[in-house]
Every structure is written in structure tokens, then in C-alpha cells.
Symmetry: C2
């Protein structure tokens, strides 16, 4: 990866792919994208983001202060391990079609209850203070999933506020699922 | 945490707590334990381990080489986001009692299939080469969960071999669920 142009295997709708696309956009890294229709879900893309952070440290996606870094990682893990894996495609298939929507709404709402509470003590304009971090890369794709499963966001004013202000940033827009090479025409922005 | 003695809120059986107990033992950090009966599951304890790594870097739980670090994080995330959250207590409750065992076996086996394949190209004595890393802290508690749910481990020779050699180490033994202050008498080693 340090040698040639990095290749991202991406699926337009995957929240895990989107996290990485945001990181690449923020760090202004030129990359090739290979779109794949089925993706191996899970939070493994955080390993890619940590790798990018170590090899291309500017702009930083982790604060310098160890306590703030821990906050960023706690929020990222809450989303990437505590919410996303419970509502990904393979789990929903296992749950059975008639239960999918209720299941997804339940795990997202339960995760967002915890997240809203954490954010109330860490957030500024972003999840931790006013600088965009790894936590924000996790937040926005997860809120998009919540939208998709029609989760009522009114109990989560902090989540909603941060999400809205992040979506105004270029890196979050170019990486958006509605603007990817494999986005079907009916879902294009 | 840098000031006083750190406090770990721990549950003897939780694989997430166990990961942190191994890290604390490896880094020889003296801490107080407060045992709690119900734990908020998820992979959030990786944030604690990253924090320990940054504030107490010796011995390292992440290799120095960025590629190897990425391997360690990929394996850790595969376990902490890809397997553990799908078989934790709250999910099993939601699945319903009669389906719990099948569900747990299925998600663990499917995760171990991926993990075994990754390990075949990264492992030495440990998950990545011969040095104990964050990935090993994730592996051993997850294999214990697999045992608990009676997953057949014969298709996973690499996982089994590494697990066995790690369990011989002091840090993995003192942190074991069978030796915690809140371990019930019938489960004590």
C-alpha cells in the first residue's frame, strides 16, 4: 500500500466501506476502487483506518491526548462493535424476514441510547470536541443505517446535530453511498 | 487513570473483561477490580487496551511495523466486532431460548472459518508472528466462548494450536474466568 496506489474494495451501501471512504477523502489519498456486490461485514475496516492514520498522519483522525483518543476509540467501538454488527446483512438474514425491521430498530435504538449519553459529555461540533475524528467516520454511516430502518431519531438530539453538521463537509459527501460507482440509478443523489 | 491506581469493572465470564485483564497482567499494572454482575457488552474494551498501549507501552501489544499492526488490528476487529457481539448475552436473549445454541454455534463457526484462514498467513506461535499482541488477547477469550457453546474446533487447527500455547502463559492464567473474585465456587479452577 505504501508503494502503489491503494485499492479499496468497496460496496456503495456498506457502512464499513463508507467509513474508509471518508478517511481517504479527509486525508486526500488518491485510490482505486473495486466495487464488490457482497461484502464481508464487521468492523474490520477500523484496522484500515488505524493503518491510514499511522502511515498518513495528516490530518489526524485521532486526537493527540490519550484520554481524548480513548474517547474517540470508545465511541468508534460502540458503533463498530456494539451496533453495526448486530444489524448487518448476514445477521438480518439469520433473523428471518418478518423480524428484520423490528430487530434492526431495536439494536440501533438500544445502541443510540448509550451513544447519545456518551456524546453529551464528549461532543463539540463533532463526536469528541470540534475536530473530525475516527468516531465521526463511524457515526455518519450508522445514522444513515438508522434512517434506512426508519428509527425515530427524535430521542437523540446530539447524534442528530453532529450528523447534520458532518454531512455538510466535502469528505462526507464525496464518500456518500448515493454517489458511488456502484450506486444503482434509483438511489443516486 | 495516570494518577491513581486504575479500577477495572470486571465480570468473570465476560470475554471483553478478560481481554483487558490479560493486557493488565502482561503490562504488570497493579489495579483494583470492581466486579459487576451485568456487563454492557461489545468490543469497547479495545479502547481500554489501546489506551493502555499508549500510556504504558511496555511490553508492546502492537508490533512496530505498520503492516503487522494492521494485521493485529484486523484480527482483533474480526473477533471483537465480527464474532463476539453476535454471540453476547443480550443478542442471545433476543434470539430466544430454543435457538440460542444453534445461533451461537453458527456465528462462531462462520467467524472462525474466516479467522483460521487469516491466521494461516499471519501466525507464528501467536496470532501475528511470535510476539503476544492485542489479537491474542481477543483470541483466547473467544475460544473459551466457543468451548462454552460446544463448537467443534477440529476444523480450526491454527486457532486451536495458538490458543493452547497462549493458555500456558502466566498472564492468560491469572486473568482466566475460573480464577476471578466473582467466579462462583462451582466454576473455580
Amino acid at each position: 500500500m505504501q508503494a502503489g496506489k491503494p485499492i479499496l474494495y468497496s460496496y456503495f451501501r456498506s457502512s464499513c466501506s463508507w467509513r474508509v471512504r471518508i478517511a481517504l477523502a479527509l486525508k486526500n489519498i488518491d485510490y482505486e476502487m473495486i466495487t464488490i456486490n457482497l461484502i464481508k461485514d464487521g468492523g474490520q475496516q477500523l484496522a484500515i483506518i488505524e493503518y491510514l492514520e499511522e502511515t498518513r498522519p495528516t490530518p489526524r483522525l485521532l486526537p493527540q491526548d490519550p484520554k481524548k483518543r480513548a474517547h474517540v476509540r470508545m465511541i468508534s467501538d460502540l458503533i463498530a462493535s456494539g451496533i453495526q454488527p448486530l444489524q448487518n446483512l448476514s445477521v438480518l438474514n439469520q433473523v428471518g424476514q418478518e423480524n428484520q425491521l423490528t430487530w434492526a430498530q431495536q439494536v440501533i435504538a438500544s445502541g443510540f441510547n448509550a451513544l447519545e449519553q456518551v456524546l453529551q459529555s464528549t461532543a463539540g461540533k463533532c463526536c469528541v470536541g470540534d475536530e473530525v475524528s475516527m468516531a465521526d467516520l463511524c457515526l455518519v454511516p450508522q445514522v444513515a443505517n438508522a434512517d434506512r430502518y426508519k428509527v425515530d431519531l427524535s430521542p437523540y438530539p446530539t447524534i442528530s446535530r453532529i450528523n447534520k453538521s458532518l454531512l455538510a463537509l466535502e469528505a462526507f459527501q464525496v464518500s456518500h453511498p448515493s454517489r458511488q460507482p456502484d450506486t444503482p440509478p434509483e438511489l443516486r443523489a
